[in-house]
Every structure is written in structure tokens, then in C-alpha cells.
């Protein structure tokens, strides 16, 4: 008899689940459909709703404004070369191969320095985030070193490493290590206590706690931090090359300045901007994929 009485309630529960399921599926299916149908009347409006189209239009407007300012002679062409002149300079640099040599040198330096910064920043951030005692000792040192801009490190860097790749590695490292550390530390510090406890009471082994809980739970905060670190590292490599290198985009700018090749100076700057933009966009894409589970990323 009690089993009989239990039947309807179990059935209800199942229905409840099914209804939720249908509602979920409905919501998922409805969202894109609605967006499409709303944009249907005007093709132009639909085009403008696209994020990439907007980005392209924004950039085009910027270059058009720039072209107008220098092309119409509002600003002296020597002080501000027009986008077309810069494009011509870029083309020439690309053709004679020097652009690729400088770009390759800069990328190689930022890669090495950024990798070192990731290793150090992640390791130290994990240790400090996990063990309060260690963080009490280490954090004041980090917080005191962090405000020193990489530019201020240049004299002592040259003293230690001379003029070469090592100096650039070190400066990129200095720029990138702090954002990497802060992000990792913040992520581990902010881990959900209940999730850790849940893992522990389910009998999680240390490796499982680390790879299956700590790391994936921290990535939504760590990855944006690494993206910022790479951006800072990219700025640092150019700074380093302005002073302490014989190749690289920074060196290209510096050398062109001394030869009064302003077109090449701006061409170097444009390259730096575009490459930095591309790096950030690629990392953001990776982030979105890795952190797809995090609701904040979804919205």
C-alpha cells in the first residue's frame, strides 16, 4: 500500500524533470531563433548586429579619420604620415624581409619571457594562494617590487645581462610575472571552500584535487590574467628593444627615428598594435572555449 501511494509522487518528480528538460531545450532553441527573426526586416541592421562587422567599421573609421587629417594637410605629413604612406612603408619593409626579421625577433623574445613569467607566476601564485603562511612572507615582497615599472629596471638589466636577448627576456619576464602571479593568487584564494570540501569528502587524491578541482576552478580567473600578462610583456619587449637590442620592432622604430624615416617609425608602431591585438584576440578565444562552463562567460 505505501508503495502504491509512492507511485504518483515518483511520477510527478519525473514529470517535473521532464518539464524542466523541455523548458531548457526550448529556451536554448528559442534564443538564437529570436535573435534572427528580430533582425530579419533590415539586412543592414542584421549586418550591424554582427560584432566583427562593427569592429571592422570602427577600424575603418579610425583610418579614414587619420587619412583625412594627414592627407588634407591639416597636420604636416612629416609629423604624421598618412595611413597610405605607412602601408607603403610596411609593404617595402615586408618585401625586403626586414619586417619579418624584426617581428620574429620580438615574438621570440616575448615568447621566452612570457613562458618564464608564466612558470614563475603560476607556481608562486599557487603556493601563496594555497598556504596562507607562505603568502604572508612573500606578498609584501611582491607588492613592493610590483610598482617598479620595467623601464626603471633597464639600467640594471643592461648591467646584468648586457645588450642582447637575455636582457629582453628579463624585462618581459618582469612585466608579465606580476599579472600572472596576482591572477593565480586571487584565483586560488577565492576557491569555493565547499567545492574543496566536497572533493575531500568524496575521497579525492591530491593529484585529483589539483588537476580536477583546483586548476579548472581557477582558470576563469587565471586565463584573463595571463592575457593581460602577455599584453604587458609585449609592451616590455618593445621597450627593451628601444634601448637594449640590435633587432626587433623596438629597434626598428629607434633606428628609423635616427634616420628620420618617420613612415617606418609609424609602420613599426602599427605592427606592434596589430600583433598585440591578434595575440589578445587569440587568447580570448581560447579562454572562451576553456571556460565555457562558467556562467559569467556565457552571458
Amino acid at each position: 500500500m505505501p508503495e502504491c501511494m509512492n507511485e504518483p509522487s515518483a511520477g510527478d518528480a519525473k514529470e517535473d524533470v521532464l518539464m524542466e528538460a523541455r523548458a531548457d531545450a526550448g529556451a536554448l532553441a528559442a534564443a538564437p531563433a529570436q535573435r534572427k527573426s528580430a533582425a530579419k526586416p533590415l539586412p543592414l541592421a542584421r549586418l550591424l548586429a554582427n560584432g566583427s562587422v562593427r569592429a571592422g567599421l570602427g577600424l575603418a573609421a579610425f583610418f579614414a579619420f587619420w587619412q583625412a587629417v594627414s592627407g588634407l594637410g591639416i597636420v604636416d605629413g612629416f609629423l604624421l604620415p598618412s595611413p597610405l604612406a605607412v602601408a607603403q612603408a610596411l609593404w617595402d619593409l615586408a618585401l625586403d624581409g626586414s619586417l619579418w626579421i624584426h617581428l620574429g625577433a620580438s615574438l621570440q623574445r616575448v615568447a621566452v619571457g612570457f613562458l618564464l613569467a608564466c612558470i614563475a607566476g603560476l607556481a608562486l601564485g599557487l603556493v601563496c594562494g594555497w598556504w596562507r603562511t607562505v603568502s604572508d612572507f612573500v606578498r609584501p615582497v611582491v607588492e613592493a617590487l610590483r610598482p617598479i615599472p620595467p623601464l626603471a629596471w633597464i639600467p640594471i638589466t643592461i648591467l646584468w645581462f648586457g645588450l642582447g636577448d637575455a636582457a629582453s627576456y628579463f624585462l618581459v619576464f618582469l612585466g608579465a610575472v606580476f599579472p600572472a602571479f596576482v591572477a593565480t593568487y586571487t584565483a586560488v584564494r577565492g576557491l569555493d571552500r565547499n567545492q574543496m570540501n566536497a572533493a575531500l569528502c568524496l575521497g579525492a587524491k591530491p593529484w585529483q584535487l589539483f588537476w580536477d578541482v583546483l586548476i579548472p576552478a581557477s582558470l576563469p580567473i587565471i586565463l584573463p590574467g595571463l592575457r593581460i600578462a602577455l599584453g604587458v610583456g609585449w609592451m616590455c619587449v618593445v621597450t627593451a628593444e628601444l634601448i637594449a637590442a640590435q633587432t626587433g620592432l623596438g629597434y626598428l622604430i629607434q633606428q628609423s627615428r635616427m634616420l628620420f624615416q618617420i613612415n617606418n617609425v609609424v609602420a613599426g608602431m602599427v605592427t606592434i598594435g596589430l600583433v598585440g591585438f591578434a595575440m589578445s584576440a587569440i587568447l580570448e578565444r581560447i579562454e572562451r572555449r576553456v571556460n565555457a562552463w562558467a556562467p559569467s562567460e556565457r552571458n
Binding site: K14, V17, A21, D24, A198, C201, A217, W293
Partner: protein, 280 residues
Amino acid sequence: MAATAARISPSLRAQAPQTTPDDIQIDIRNVGKVYGTKASDDPVVALDGVSLRIRRGEFISLLGPSGCGKSTLLGIIAGFQAASSGQILQDGRPIARPDASRTVVFQDYALFGWMTVQQNIEFGLKAKGMAKAERAEIARALIATVHLTGFEDKYPHQMSGGMKQRAAIARALAPDPDILLMDEPFGALDAQTRVLLQEEIARISSEAGKTVIFVTHGIDEAVFLADRVVVMSPRPGRVREEVLVPLPRPRTAEMRSDPWFVSTVNDLWETLKPEWQKGE
């Protein structure tokens, strides 16, 4: 009147379900917990001299207003924190750390958001070093038990609160624990979902034959589910009284209108009202 008679009456204690009176699984001995032991802080006594013996297979509700230390006590039983004084024995051995023989269901689910339902449930089985095929099979069976079939590959953020808690219950059952600890598991759910899940947990717990410690501040929920309701009072957290629930198992929705049930819930509310006002 009937309710008063039922309270801690020896005759009823003798017919407590399923187990013999001396099959004690958890022995809570004079446990105290004090927070803020630094000289600068005002120490807060969360628990003071709590003693409780829980039989194998028994369903215990820990009932009380906020601040009565019921969640703290559950945390100490789980091994998440240490008692300041006294000790808790599980089958005669002191509890020192979290262990897969005592799994926890949390109010906020604490599911791993980066894992699917299936992966969440398999977590405790993976910890045991179980082979993949076997893990998947056990997880599938549990998913059916909690009525989540079809949602194996969903992520927690794609599900409603009630479904998340079903997944969390399945995850806690997966390592086949001796004891299931539930910390206000239905506190964040809407009233209808809560009632459904109460009936589910009544069914699952009597099928699985686990010892359950269920922390709640819902009087009807506590009485509906438990073999024994342990009522706690705040500041300092103490056991105030115990109520044996003579309702048969499995518990069904109709029992909520049973005269004994109604009068016991009313009775408890009347006696607890001042405490609740104090706790507010």
C-alpha cells in the same frame, strides 16, 4: 498530547527502526567548538557539550534556528573542521579528516561546474581508482535513481536548482558511503521542488539503508524525514530535546496530514518560537 507522549519515551525508543539499540555508528562525545581563540576576539561558543549517539541506518534530523551550531556539528562529523573539545567516534575510531565513508550534500550544491553531471558523479569513483566502464555503469544507475536520465552530459549551469541538487545527491551516493551528511540541502529550492525532493530523499535513503544526518531549519521537513529529530538551541549550541518519529517507512506524502505529524510539528513550533525569535 500525543506528541508529548512520543518524546523520548523508552517504549518508542525500543522500536526505533531497523537497528538494534547498541549498534552505535557515530558516537558524539561532549563536543564543543569555540571560534575566535585569539586574545583580541570575543570567543563565540558555537557548540557546547553536545553528546549524541547515532545508530547504523538511522535517519537523524538536526533541527534548530540559525546560529545553533547544527552546520558546525555536521562539519565536524564530516571532518572538515576539528572540535575544540570532546570527540566524535565512527565505529569506535575518532574522526580526523574527511573520508569517502561520510559524504556531504551541500546547500549550494558545490557541484564541479567544469564537469558534466556524469563526470561529477564519477568523481568519487575515480578517486577510488575504479575502471572507466565500471564508473560509467554505476553513475548511470545513480542518474536513473535521481531521475536525471538524459542529462548526463549537461553542465551544472544548464540545470535548475532542483536538478543540481539531484546530481549532488547522486554524486554523494556514488562512493557508497556509510553515512550521508546533508547540510540544509533543500534550503535554496522553491517550496514545490523542496517537497518533491523530500519525498525523493525519503525513498532513496530507505532503499539505500544509509545512515543520514540531515541539517535543517524546517520543522515539517525534519519530522517528515527523520527517525529521530534532534532539536538544538543557540548561543551556545546545545542539544535541547529529541523527538522520536514513529511514522512507518517509506514515508509518503499522506503522512503530512497524519494527526500525529500535524500536532508534533505544531508542538515543536510552539516550543521553538522563542528560540527562533532569539536567533533572528
